[in-house]
Symmetry: C2
């Protein structure tokens, strides 16, 4: 089967920088250097984009569930769209793609980073190549039963690229250039693997998801405190006991009380408020690169 990479922007309709880049690319074929890799590019949720919203009925990037492909009776718009995308571009789909790259933006000060879901070898190998080349941090999202059904999990290999900070619905020059740079580097690395021109690192730095924490809330469940000014925009910077976490308008500062140190990510991502997530806490770990990951990626690509 010929190698084909699925490129997705606008899985969330109000994350418009990737959408805009794809639309410009549609007009000017040579805008993106694909390094000879065959790609299918798609706007994940065009209806949500037209509505200027993250989604219509539910978060598309939580709607990819295996069971729904078995008995398909969805009435939820995003569940239908998730099924459709897999039917069109899934590994057994009409236009099969082995790898999915899903371009997102965040209101958090995450810079550019990669998100991998679980510990699939091919994902980790591809992420390691990009970390080796560009130095991007990798956030390993796992063991979170409340957040599941991510798009890339429905492909044999897939990464999310997250770039921020940028407001929802806002074009930003820096975010657009970063998206373009990472997209081209991902395709370049895939091409290198295809040609067995391999330069995997020996180690990779992983930020392993431990848990997420909610905003402070009053008895009615209403958010009654916000991210402390000393914590705002401090993604990737260590959080330790007695550090300021939240602030309430009554003057109360809520501090971090655990003995354990963490690295927080997605601090104050606007879209996570409804998911009861003020930030997620990770552990920074140095992992040995596994030969098996490399083989997984090579097997998939060749």
């Amino acid at each position: 089967m010929q190698l084909q990479v699925l490129l997705v922007a606008g899985t969330h309709g109000n994350e418009i920088n990737g959408i805009w880049l794809f639309e410009e690319w549609e007009k000017s074929f040579f805008l993106i250097n694909t390094h000879g890799i065959k790609t299918c590019k798609v706007i994940g949720n065009p209806q949500a984009k037209n509505a200027g919203k993250r989604y219509l009925h539910s978060d598309l990037n939580r709607s990819f569930r295996e069971e729904s492909f078995v008995s398909f009776e969805a009435s939820n718009f995003e569940e239908i769209r998730a099924n459709e995308l897999v039917k069109l571009y899934g590994i057994s789909g009409e236009n099969p793609c082995q790898i999915a790259l899903d371009f997102h933006t965040t209101t958090a000060s995450m810079g550019s980073c990669l998100v991998v879901y679980g510990r699939r070898g091919a994902d980790l190998a591809l992420a390691a190549l990009i970390q080796h080349k560009l130095g991007l941090p990798i956030y390993l999202h796992e063991s979170d039963k409340k957040q599941t059904g991510f798009l890339v999990e429905s492909w044999p290999c897939g990464l999310v690229v997250e770039i921020g900070p940028v407001g929802q619905g806002l074009l930003n020059s820096k975010i657009i250039s970063q998206t373009k740079l990472i997209l081209e580097n991902l395709l370049e690395q895939i091409q290198q693997v295809k040609h067995l021109n391999l330069s995997f690192p020996e180690k990779l730095i992983i930020h392993r998801h431990i848990k997420s924490i909610d905003f402070p809330r009053d008895e009615a469940g209403h958010i009654d405190g916000y991210v402390h000014s000393l914590r705002q925009s401090k993604d990737w910077q260590p959080l330790k006991k007695n550090d300021e976490l939240f602030y309430k308008l009554n003057g109360e500062t809520i501090k971090f009380e655990e003995d354990e140190n963490y690295i927080p990510v997605f601090i104050n991502e606007a879209a996570y408020m409804e998911k009861n997530i003020a930030m997620s806490l990770t552990k920074r770990e140095l992992w040995d690169f596994q030969q098996a990951w490399e083989q997984s990626l090579i097997d998939l690509i060749n």
Copy 2:
């Protein structure tokens, strides 16, 4: 008639910092120092807030039109809401307010500033007091036939407070503190005028609206360039001939070509894309404070 000040947050449903401050205030009566001024606080567009959007049918802050109060046959949600707010809190309304203060946020790097619409004496007097006290810039919006129907124009005196940058739908500690600070200072200054304890400045600095400029667009009208990185976040900083304005992905930089110098404001405000406004251009002017403005404000308040 007793002095009463209308305080509005959430005229745009996705500008949530003011809404959140008002909701917290509702729970804790003493949160805001009102300096003894009687206030009515209201969420401008609660339905849009619940939908997480700026508006449902059309921009509420462009829906206040005198004619619609004469023959009222609106089916547009925001036109109905505009009528309702005037009926409830207008100077001839059920619960009459003389002054309206409308709290907004912007994705542009405007810092904190005041917007006045046209050259009403009482508006300019109140804005001058705040500029004198806090140093805030004043943006005078006038002579713009495409942008009309602002909320505060339906009250005898009214100012918009704009604070940014902050993404839509995002709580931010700095924005909340700035909103609280300016709200309290406005009420304090109104109280000073009420007690005829007057300290008007001799001069005020006005940024007078000249025109707005659109994004570059392709033949189909689609935006095909974004704000140049050297222009992004440079609100209030002079724009002169040959300065970088926009950038296209084909590498083309669009420069500012007029001989005239301007001060740009609302650079890359996300909500203005649909209004074909990439930024607005103003002239910075030093105006003499007019005795008549002071008298207007005193007459209204006392």
